[in-house]
Structures are given as structure tokens and as C-alpha cells.
Symmetry: C2
Subunit: 364 residues, 2 copies
């Protein structure tokens, strides 16, 4: 048997006489960036952006932004995603904006893994240790979220018990998923463990979040309709009686936008009046649970032409406590605390939204 | 060969010697109503209702209402669904409420058929003939919608051309589907034919409409979240440039509810400001297309505790023309024209919503 030698690796040569045609051989593209010389604008820029389009089997949309997902100033480059440097976060966010507390929402969501739940549970646990060691120990202003793999609710509850009593951990992180409704009794151990450890439960969308029509064609469509995921999770929590089962449960909807809340709340109340015998375990008007047990974040803020309309929308919800401030640092649609409110928002209310509401809700 | 005789049908008996075990034999349940003696309340009532739960492979929810889907007064019974009698519709709706025109929205939606598109096209055509002969010829106040099978857009366009010039036909009926976005260029022939025949395009949900989380567990959840389907269709029409391609297109969202419109419109405008380079064919602010080319129906109306909030919501949309009146006769959540508006709605505006807006939009 002869041997071919290539880059020091000896490859056997069987000296076969008959010709061979192989119709399944994989050439590897090292990175989608290797396609840059072959791409025209605007597609070239979508890949070139520091946090730009990564791969076809990852988040399918390309961001039509200069730095992809990242705000341009926060881009780090050289393979490190925006938000991966504590020092930059401190210099760009914590110090200049006088942040009292910043809640880290978690950068992986093991609940989204559709396969191998034991591995998802191990990743969640590893992430929490990494978070405590590399972030929460760096700065007293930082607070963290427990990553869990809710597809194994008992394991998730054990993980919450393992790290949830650390005072720097303030909430449990769940995806604003469109694959499952977390109000289903199957997930009760997660909510139970959150309440037991005095943690809020946070819903934030992920790359796996879809809409009523699945993944719509364009990012602008997805980014407009994605609130539907939180709407459905919220409706589920009310109708499955999760707030009745766990009266001390506190839920926060992060990056859901909030101007859809009056409409959804009214519709849910109206339907409750005529359909409540379908869900007899729901004991109070849906809007009462929402006002008392749920908070929403400011970012992404809506900007109607007439800013009074935004304030009216706020009044419709009927609570000065329901909104808490957020920037979404370091993403492209970052909201600054100095510019987030229309000037017509009452000063006292701004103060509550900027810090007091969160201070009370998280018991800081 | 011996023969067994049963009810006059001769059944062959092969006189086989070896014993036989057959493990796949189907006994037929004539109707789910045959299970009534074996069902306890509240489930018994869900099946017993005149338009109650029909079968497991049909609309999956049971309505927790006394007459199922129907309003109790409109129930006919004996196998005929509510709304199947013209005389009853005349006596319950057209005469007592002084209806100038009533637009029939269509009781089948061949676009929902996922298989055998040629059959769906034939059903659409048959339905339109039945509609003209059995309904539209009975009463000058009735107007009809063209049923189409949009999965074959060319055939749908031919059907629109076939019946769309009849003056009693005023619109094309599409499902507020969550299976596909009708703004995709594939469906352009349908919109083109609607415009060519001076017809509106109506979106109404069907039994196949789902939500961001698919079919949620309870009917109250579905009935609250189902607006998401129209939201996604509307967002699609804007972002795919359907209104740019067809500047004379008129779209009506039927039974979508409408208090979600300000939030969706603001978000879409806000996203357009930052993301419009993804969709350069969209030439104007999304809210402009929506105000000018889209109408929404009143039913189902929302009832906030403070009725001024409903009027504010109306003002936020920035048009007195966008809303047109509807009852949803003969369904359980029927809205009467006499009680639909809070007393604080300006009288002149009520008049516009009750008839003038629709008269202008449909060019009656």
C-alpha cells in the first residue's frame, strides 16, 4: 500500500485500479466572512458588521444596521461579541449614566435547546458559575439572572435552589418562547422555585422566538410582531391560573414593548366576563394580576407623533408601578435614560420609572 | 360458499377453518352527540349546544357558551347552523336594526384547504354561485364576498374576474391566516384582480387561525390572542410593499378588534425609521398606508373601565374613517349598534362609524 503525505499527515493509498466517483464530499467554508469578496452591497455590509450575520443555521435574519446586532460604539470585534467586556460596559453604561443597579439578563438560554436536555441543564449550571465568577463579582452594581433548562423543570428548580440564594442573583430567566407556554402545569416547579428563592421570573425573547406567522420574511416584520410572544405568555399565565397558584410570583417582561398592554388587558378582561366558566380557577379580573404581579421594561419605547398619546397609553394601564427602565445595552436600539421619555412625561413619574419601581419590585 | 344475510345485504361467508384475529376494525360513532349520556357537565353542555363542539378533527375548542358559537336567539337546531336562515336574519338583524347594507363575509374559506387545490378552487366557485342564487338575490340590502382558493392565485384571480363585476359582490375574502403571509408576491394576482374589479380585500379569522404559540390551551386564550393573525398580515402588507404595488388597494380587517392598532402602527413607524433600508420599496411611513388604505370593524369592541380611554385610543390612530360598524351576527359575541359605543363617543363620530365610513369605503 502506497501512502500520500500531505501536511505531515500520512494518508493511505489503496492503489485501486477501478476509477471512483464520490458524490458526497464536504468542502468546509471556514466562515461566512470568506464570502465577503463575492458579495455585493447591501449584503456585504450585513456580513461585515462586527456582530453581523453569523451563519445560515443560526439567527436567520441579517440586521440592516452598521454593526449588526450591536450598537456601533459597543462593538469589540476580533471575534468577541459586543457586551463581552466588563470594562467597556462600565465605561459606556454604568459610570456615565449613573446606574445604581444593572440587571444582566443572561446571554444563553438553555431552555431553547430542543434536544439533549441533560446537556442543556449542564450548560445552564456552567453559565451560572461563569456569571458569578466573571461578572457579578466584578462590580457591586451588577445583578444576575439564573439560566435554567426549563424543559426539565425539576432540574431547573434544583439549579434555582443551588444559586438562587446568592444575593446577587435576582431573577430566573425564561425565553419569551413561541414553542411552548410556560404557564402549563408541567413548568410549575420553575415558578415554585423562583417564589421559594424570592426571585422574579423574567421573559425575554431569543433568536428562537417566532410570531403568529412563524418567521416572517423581513427583520422589520419580526421586530414589529415579536411582542406577540410575550402577549401569549402573559395570557397563558393568567388563564392557566399561575398567578392564583403562586400569589407571590413576580413576573417581568423584558424588551416586550408595553403599549400593547392596554389592548390585551381590556380584551382579556372582556373575555373573562363572558368566558370565565372555562377557567374557573382564575379568581380575579385578569388586569388585576397584571397590574399587581407583572412589570414591563421601557425599551423599546414607542414614539407617537403626539407624545401625549404615549402618556395616555400609560394611564390606561392604571398603575404608576408597571414600567421599569431598561437600555438594552449593547444592542443597536439602545435607549438612553436621558432621552427615553417625551418631555411631557411628569417628572415624578420619570423618577419612579428610572429607578424606584425596579427598586421596589426587586427589593433592592 | 355460505352467505350471511344482514339487513338485506348479502355478506359472503368463506367457510374458513382456521381462527382469525383482526386487529384493525373501525366501529363508527355516528355523532359526538351519541356520547352525551356518558358525559358530565360542563362537557355535556359544550356538546349539547346547538352550534356546539362538532368533532375532534374540526375546530378543536368547545365554546363555553349556552349555544356554542351561536348567540342563543339565533340558534336553529336540527342540524342547521345559526345564520343559515335568511328569514331569521331579516327578522333578527336587518329589519329591527334598520340595516342599510349588510356585508356577508362568507361561510367557507377554501384558502384554508391545505390539500387538493383544484377541489378548493371548485368549492370556491360553487360557493359563489350558491351565494348569488340563495342570498344576494333575496334582499337588496345584502352584499357578498368572493370566496377564493388563494393557494392557486391565478385561478383565484379568474374567479374574482368571473363574479367580481356583479354589483352585489363588494369584496374578496381571505383568511386572517397564520400559515402564510398573503403579502408574499406569490399572491399578487389576487390583489391585482381585487383592484381590477374595484373590490376590497377582507381578512377574517377562521377555525384554522392560530397564534404566536400555535393553538393555546384554552378558548379564552385563543380568543384573546387571535388578533395577532391580523397584526402579522397587516405588517406583511406594509413591509412587502403591497400598498406601494397596488396604490388603489383597499383592505378591511374584520373582527380583528382595533385597540391594538396604535401600538402596532407606532412600532412599525419607529422600526421603519431605523430599518427601512431593509425594505427600500416601502416609500412612505407605514401609518400612512394603514390610515388611508385599511379599515377595521368595531366588533369585538373593548370596554375599558374608563370609557374615555377607548376614545383616546381612537384618536391615537389619527383618522375618523378607519373604523366601520359590524355586529358579527349570529355569533355569541354579537354587538348591537345601539349599545356598541360608550355614551361619551361623540355623536357625529358614531354616525360616521355606523354607516358613513363603510358607505364611502365600499362606495355604496
Amino acid at each position: 500500500m502506497a501512502e500520500l503525505v500531505n501536511r505531515g499527515i500520512r494518508v493511505p493509498h489503496l492503489g485501486q485500479k477501478a476509477p471512483v466517483i464520490d458524490v458526497d464530499v464536504h468542502e468546509a467554508l471556514p466562515s461566512v466572512r470568506d464570502l465577503l469578496p463575492y458579495l455585493d452591497e447591501p449584503w456585504r455590509g450585513r456580513v461585515e458588521a462586527p456582530d453581523g450575520f453569523a451563519d445560515i443555521d443560526r439567527f436567520p435574519y441579517s440586521y440592516p444596521q452598521v454593526a449588526g446586532l450591536a450598537m456601533a460604539e459597543a462593538a469589540i470585534g476580533e471575534g468577541a461579541p459586543a457586551g463581552s467586556s466588563y470594562e467597556l460596559m462600565r465605561d459606556q453604561l454604568l459610570d456615565p449614566y449613573d446606574i445604581e443597579y444593572a440587571i444582566l439578563v443572561g446571554s444563553i438560554q438553555p431552555t431553547d435547546m430542543r434536544v439533549q436536555p441533560e446537556f442543556a441543564t449542564a450548560l445552564a449550571s456552567a453559565y451560572n458559575d461563569w456569571l458569578l465568577e466573571n461578572w457579578l463579582s466584578q462590580d457591586d452594581r451588577l445583578r444576575g439572572s439564573v439560566a435554567v433548562a426549563a424543559q426539565d423543570p425539576q432540574a431547573a428548580a434544583r439549579e434555582i435552589d443551588r444559586v438562587g440564594n446568592d444575593p446577587r442573583i435576582v431573577q430566573v430567566s425564561l425565553p419569551a418562547s413561541t414553542r411552548d407556554v410556560f404557564a402549563r402545569p408541567f413548568y410549575d416547579p420553575v415558578f415554585e422555585a423562583a417564589v421559594r428563592n424570592d426571585l422574579t421570573v423574567a421573559f425575554h425573547h431569543t433568536n428562537a422566538t417566532e410570531t403568529a406567522v412563524g418567521l416572517p420574511t423581513y427583520y422589520i416584520e419580526w421586530h414589529t410582531a415579536v411582542s406577540q410572544a410575550w402577549q401569549s405568555q402573559l395570557i397563558g399565565l393568567v388563564c392557566h391560573g399561575t398567578f392564583d397558584k403562586f400569589p407571590e410570583l413576580r413576573v417581568i417582561m423584558i424588551e416586550s414593548s408595553w403599549t400593547w398592554v392596554p389592548s390585551t388587558m381590556w380584551r382579556l378582561d372582556h373575555n373573562y366576563r363572558s368566558l370565565r366558566r372555562e377557567v374557573p380557577w382564575v379568581k380575579r379580573m385578569p388586569s388585576e394580576y397584571i397590574r399587581e404581579q407583572v412589570r414591563f421594561t421601557t425599551q423599546p419605547m414607542e414614539y407617537p407623533e403626539n407624545p401625549d398619546h404615549l402618556y395616555q397609553m400609560f394611564e390606561m394601564i392604571g398603575s404608576e408601578e408597571f414600567l421599569v427602565f431598561s437600555t438594552d445595552y449593547p444592542h443597536w436600539d439602545f435607549d438612553s435614560p436621558q432621552h427615553v421619555f417625551p418631555k411631557t412625561f411628569p417628572k415624578e413619574l420619570r423618577r419612579k420609572i428610572l429607578a424606584e419601581n425596579a427598586r421596589n419590585f426587586f427589593d433592592f
